[in-house]
Amino acid sequence: MRYLSHTPDDIDEMLQVVGAESLDALFSNIPQSCCCRLPLNLPQALTEWELNAHMDSLAGQTAVSPDYTLFLGAGSYDHFVPAAVSYLLGRGEFVTSYTPYQPEVSQGTLQAIYEYQTLATRLMGMEVATASHYDGSTALAESLLMAIRVTRKKRVAVSQLVHPLYRRVIQTYFDPTDFDVVELPYGSDGRTDLSKVAGMDDLAAVAVQSPNFFGGIEDLSAVADAAHAKGALFIASFIEAIAYGLLKSPGSLGADIVCGEGQSLGLGRSFGGPGLGMLGSLKKYMRNLPGRLVGQTTDVEGRKGFVLTLATREQHIRREKATSNICTNNSLCALTAAVYMASLGGTGLRNLAQLNYDKAAYLRSELSQAGVETPFSAPCFNEFVVRFSNGFTKKYEELSEKKIIAGLPLECYYPELVDHYLLCATETLSKEDMDLLVREVTS
């Protein structure tokens, strides 16, 4: 076995040192009743060559670009990733290290994550950001729990235009608690209706996503006012980080906590994970943050260096009183996002965000001119909702046979939205791709 180095002689020599007669004898103190009765029933080992063939065949059964044209976003976006980013992320020193518990031999990870935290705060308009969480949904669930800790109140209001799957994760996290989640409906323009907020008591947080699940850009200042009027924190969530290359940051519009999904920042779709949970807050809530933080300090010779810090919030010190149970997070994904953001720079990210905005604007306008209904009037970023003709399902299937995925049917998430589809256009779709879709759906 190529990953194991022991020769039979090595094993004999070592067994002698240990005083065991055989490898099996090493386990002789385990009661017989605990042991496997049969050998593992698994497929026999493959050679690397055979493995490649097997994996190629599994990977061949998926609808991916460029073979397919996907107008599918909904929390997982296709963006162009420069080769330099992927190349740097292959560095074994980054990939095969662990959580930097020993900072003297982990300065690479530590400085890179400190830089990630800095870029993340600038993107979100926050003062501090954590090292990472699992994904946008768990970052939001943890943000809501954080707001409950900060305010000592028990109710949270969450917009129905927060990604429906995020809301299901919130439900899972909140189920064993006595905290209450109230949903805020959406209005006819495709933005959150805040009118219920004023009448709510014991409110810890108002959570609104922008761009929202329909792609609409929310009026975040209005959310901040509504939340703060009730003494609640305003949590701004996002699923498409690229939007903040163009749009005003949630922090600049009054958010107290900003959290979301960073998959767009250089990570593949990878069938939904790993992504990157991003989470930042104002500095005054720093000691209530869940998860790891990297801070700057100096060594005994006065040189700049970085360490994991504020560990007294964390599970390995505080145990059941910790601000979160998280340990392993998504560090390499945060590093990916940092390298990607560094690759684009401020100028590149602004241009890319504008291009995304323009692609969706083009598709929306072409569809609209061709007679397709666009039911929500709110401005959108790179995603928007359309209402296709009755019984579009059949057409959708026909199109998928033609290798076009015409967006996400919304009915299973919003039963009232029959025949409504969420369409996404990023920089990876060409004008020809979009023109073809317009022709196909209106033919």
Binding site: V18, A45, A59, S76, Y98, T118, I217, K248, G295, S343
Partner: protein, 486 residues
């Protein structure tokens, strides 16, 4: 001997912070060509220019390459960080996870267009069930602590379904810190119990505290002292008799693959760390993957959607009304699952068993060679890791921290230190199976030389490390006056 020391002098390059580099007008990004007109954006929506540095590609590549050289990884050398299972990460796994049909797959594709990913997840769940002996698996949890949370939610849901809500949970003093933190998310109050003078749990200790207001026990097996919990079957019986459930933290499964049947020993729910036992890289702290494995009685409560097989095709099913729900946005860390799947297929059943045998052989070899030089609190055959302490060196006013820092100068990543908490000054060594004998011998020599240095020149330990990029860092000031962003 001196030429056997791995640590050496080398040219370590300085590198400024990212935003201290670059210049407006540079860029490293060549996006797809614009082929649509620029649309007007409401100026009220548009933010100020982002304060990100603009770098050329060569600056970008140098920056991160230099940073990477300040890191120690498994690819660099032996990384005996106990409890973390820093084994070699096979490179073919990276190739498989990068295949476009997997890496580019959209999670909300219609299932008939995502058969490859679904089949892989289905098979991986089957394989993990086989390796643990459990009845069913969900690969949805994103990391070990997330798997623990899943386990706690499963226990909570099961007890609720039986109208038997409880307020406490038993957690041994050797537990990972994540255990009580995960239990607390379900409202369970930890009841700590001590290990006996053999370093394991006594059945009587558990019987004394287990009652009908206790949801069950969270046990790590092998425990964090590296010892097999010999009484586990009897302990499980005690917990089950009072209507409770047994949760096993499977972080240490690397010692038991193909050897112990977790279902047989009475475990109801167990999490695995694919980034430990199943060789996926740790990535400087994730992404991991923490599948949760259950026995029959907890199957209805597993997270949804579940991957199901219908004849020759695979589908996602939400049709499990008792499910605890969703744990993350989509299906978990699929990219990590691909690597674990690739690992299991590369090793096969005999290879996996051999992994556990050699992991245990390596740990016992180190234990035998170093006992006497370092104090071994529990001198029994260990599993995949062995735990020493610094009580011999304490007499010379040298501590575990000094020993750990000095090991860096010898070219090794230090072991886990000061954990488990029950052993003051613990030095927890987990060599893993992938370390060749010569490396173990070098490590043993280094540890012996450090013990000599502690007698002859303790200052060299107290001021270590000497050869790393930076020396000991001021963690107190970092926490008192936090500087978390530049």
């Amino acid at each position: 001997m001196s030429e056997m020391i791995l640590g050496s002098r080398g040219l370590v390059l300085n590198e400024p912070l990212l935003w201290e580099k670059g210049r407006k007008g540079r860029n490293a990004f060549s996006p797809p060509r614009r082929d649509v007109p620029e649309a007007s954006v409401d100026p009220d929506l548009v933010g100020d220019d982002l304060d990100f540095p603009d770098l050329s590609e060569v600056e970008l590549v140098r920056h991160y390459t230099r940073l990477s050289t300040w890191n120690f990884g498994v690819d660099t050398g032996m990384y005996p960080l106990g409890s973390c299972t820093m084994k070699y990460n096979p490179k073919t796994n990276e190739r498989q996870a990068a295949l476009p049909g997997l890496a580019k797959a959209h999670p909300l594709l219609p299932p008939h267009l995502a058969q490859g990913p679904l089949e892989l997840m289905y098979r991986l769940e089957q394989y993990l069930a086989e390796v643990t002996g459990m009845d069913a698996v969900s690969v949805q949890p994103a990391a070990g602590a997330h798997g623990e949370l899943a386990g706690m939610l499963l226990m909570y849901a099961y007890l609720k379904s039986r109208n038997s809500q409880r307020s406490k949970i038993i957690i041994p003093d050797t537990a990972h810190g994540t255990n009580p933190a995960s239990a607390a998310l379900c409202g369970y109050r930890p009841v700590p119990v001590a290990s006996n003078d053999q370093g394991i749990l006594s059945t009587e200790t558990i019987a004394d505290v287990m009652d009908e207001d206790t949801a069950g026990i969270m046990v790590t097996n092998p425990n964090t002292i590296g010892l097999f919990e010999d009484n586990i079957k009897e302990i499980s019986d005690v917990v089950h008799d009072k209507g409770g459930l047994v949760y096993c933290d499977g972080a240490n499964m690397n010692a038991l693959m193909g050897i112990v049947d977790m279902n047989e020993i009475g475990i109801d729910v167990l999490h695995l760390n694919l980034h430990k036992s199943f060789s996926t890289p740790h990535g400087g702290g994730g992404p991991g993957s923490g599948p949760v494995c259950v026995n029959e009685k907890l199957v209805p409560f597993l997270p949804v959607p579940r991957v199901v097989r219908n004849g020759d095709s695979y589908d996602l099913s939400e049709d499990f009304p008792d499910s605890i729900g969703k744990l993350d946005t989509f299906y978990g860390h699929f990219g990590v699952m691909v690597k674990a799947y690739s690992y299991i297929r590369s090793l096969g059943p005999d290879g996996l068993k051999k992994v556990s045998q050699l992991a245990v052989l390596n740990a016992n070899y180190i234990k035998e060679k170093l006992k006497g030089t370092y104090h071994l609190p529990f001198d029994r055959t260990c599993m995949h890791e062995c735990v020493f302490d610094d009580s011999i060196q304490n007499e010379l006013k040298v501590t575990t921290l000094d020993i750990a820092k000095r090991l860096m100068d010898y070219g090794f990543h230090p072991p886990t230190v000061y954990f488990p908490l029950v052993i003051p000054g613990a030095i927890m060594v987990e060599p893993t199976e992938t370390e060749p004998k010569e490396n173990l011998d070098l490590f043993i020599d280094a540890m012996k030389r450090i013990a000599e240095e502690a007698k002859e020149n303790p200052e060299i330990l107290k001021s270590a490390p000497h050869k790393s990029k930076v020396r000991r860092l001021d963690e107190t000031t970092a926490a008192r006056k936090p500087c978390l962003a530049g």
